[in-house]
Symmetry: C2
Subunit: 164 residues, 2 copies
């Protein structure tokens, strides 16, 4: 085993807010295609190992996305107000509305809020960037689970590397 | 449907190289715990829907991690030279060696290389940050699939939010 090394500092800027938004929306386009790939009934009912169906996971992403952007932007942490859609078309429509809302709200985040620590939703102490990154990572994590559902159903998932 | 809006610019710095490394190593600690959660035989053999066993996915992460860091740092894109471990202990030992290697190499990435476009592994045209982010996202994506394997086996996966 190599000796543990303490990392040196590397303060290079690797990402701006604009780039993070583009990256996230690329992931969101892939998630949209994953929703589309499910047959309607399987989207709302199919699961493995007692886990949630993919519609529930997708609605969780919606429940986190704009409330996180709004919370980081304003310091006000509010739950998503909408109802969970009961059809694939309804879920995709809500998804598209959120895409537009995120594109509008994200650039309004004051620069200092990314590094500022806040108590997200009154429960999760983290920097603004940490909370946003958590939301994106959570989407990637659960979407990967949707890929297993699709494979188990004999359906080819969308290409992971396509983000347009 | 809301009218499509063109995003305004937000050039706030959201992440430095140091912060990205910390974030990644947090994810890598979670992936290590996911490897640990598998029984030895299931780690190398269990799969759903014709997908790869989790040991293969974990070895893919190793195949990408240091070669990406080295390639972004130096412009030299070289395959991982090691053999695929055949035991859980061997996989975890290799994982830990890579953890130390990444901690040592990542801070050496010249700042300009994050935004510079390169042809990663002679095949994938992307910025340095884009290639690194792809590797991290790929790990989150496939680790999420490992969670489904664990649930299907009746095993509780590690908490997604724990990164220490």
């Amino acid at each position: 085993m190599p000796t543990e090394t303490k990392p040196e500092r590397n303060l290079a800027i690797v990402m701006t807010a604009d780039e993070l938004l583009s990256h996230w929306q690329g992931h969101r386009r892939l998630t949209r295609r994953t929703i589309e790939a499910f047959p309607e009934d399987k989207l709302f009912q199919f699961s493995i190992g007692g886990m949630r169906p993919f519609a529930d996971l997708a609605f969780e992403f919606i429940n986190m996305a704009m409330p996180i952007v709004h919370g980081v932007a304003t310091g006000k942490w509010e739950k998503f107000a909408g109802e969970k859609p009961t059809t694939k078309a309804g879920l995709l429509q809500l998804w598209d509305e959120q895409t537009a809302a995120i594109d509008k709200a994200f650039p309004q985040i004051p620069p200092h809020r990314f590094a500022e620590v806040d108590n997200a939703f009154g429960m999760y102490k983290n920097t603004g960037i940490g909370t946003i990154q958590y939301g994106i990572d959570n989407e990637i994590h659960h979407r990967g689970q949707g890929y297993v559902y699709l494979r188990a159903l004999g359906i080819e998932p969308p290409h992971f590397w396509e983000r347009e």
